[in-house]
Symmetry: none
Subunit: 241 residues, 2 copies
Amino acid sequence: MSSQPPVIILVRPQLGQNIGKAARAMLNFGLTEMRLVAPRDGWPNPEAGPAASGADVVLEDAKVFDTTAEAIADCNIVYASTVRRRDLVMPVVGPEEMASAIRSTAGRAAILFGPERSGLETEDVGLANGIVTVPINPQFGSLNLAQAVILLAYEWARSADLAQPTAKETEPPAAMAELERLIGQLDVALQEADYFHPPERTQVTRSTLRTILTKAQWSSREIQALRGVVRALSVAKKVKR
Amino acid sequence: MSSQPPVIILVRPQLGQNIGKAARAMLNFGLTEMRLVAPRDGWPNPEAGPAASGADVVLEDAKVFDTTAEAIADCNIVYASTVRRRDLVMPVVGPEEMASAIRSTAGRAAILFGPERSGLETEDVGLANGIVTVPINPQFGSLNLAQAVILLAYEWARSADLAQPTAKETEPPAAMAELERLIGQLDVALQEADYFHPPERTQVTRSTLRTILTKAQWSSREIQALRGVVRALSVAKKVKR
């Protein structure tokens, strides 16, 4: 059970004003930890403060990262806020389901939001455990960044009242950085085994494998076990060769 | 049971821009009926359209009234969106309770919102059946008009069965027999690779791996992909060649 509010990660945000509005939306529901991945106009941004309407503490503590992978490295469960993606097969949940998943997962949660104009890129979404989609009017879907943030922040806060203190004693998912090491190790082993062919399919195959491995939300101990499996198989293969 | 969306009534709104943003927030969750009570800058207001980001239909159909009483005359249940009022003894509900009250009341519902700066006057609130208050951070309550509208509109939409994305687009987990084949294949590969040692730990290790692989609830397609991975890495394949 986690009562730690999720980290809000803005990936390549464009306008400082929108970063400020997002900070305000966060603080309204008690979320204080913001991370910025490669903000377009650098950081700090003088336009963010006035738009935050007093939520300066969120902006002052905001941390900047070069890549999404670095920004989520210490997080245990990650949702990508985006519309349904045809290009990715991964779990899609509503805000309520996301909030209860975060509540029932030990460790640190994060929610990714994409640039205002274009939304999250496929590779950013692929790093997450699932997609969270706000069920908006199919004839008029026009949520801006701060609105998306406030709805998910609200839902997280709302889930506090509903949260049952019946924690399952399962191990928390490993930090994303650990998963990343497993994926990297498997990738090397598969390259050595000539798994990736034809070359033009390599990216799709990699992204499929990433989804498969991310989905499981393995604990640190489980990831260690799997790394042992990959090591055993790849070493044995080299020896036999 | 009413499935008619509530009417959104802006009482003495100040900025055209905020009226536009409120319209956009409404339409995102399928609310289309807006009423304006004595808008400060008259109506229509040229600043509303651009801020509505395409929700023009809401603005075009908006009706203007001189008084709040007239604006709610045809409504059957009315909530006033405001903070808790010491000066009035009336029911105070949260957004969710409001939504379910609206759903279970036949006829037309309305939600009142006050001017941006000052909020609703006592006499306006007194016309309502109850107060609806969004439970925000007591240390930082700073909801703007459009944010208050979107949260209540969202909660209304959420209260419908349609509001949550019910149709999961993820593939169903594979039949257990398929998973069994993956586990069996991996087991053979690991034996070939001398992974299981010391022998007395073999059963525990096997059971750990089974838990790890079962947990993920992979689809049939995902299991096929993983069988390909094991095949690529496995020694047995090379030996058989």
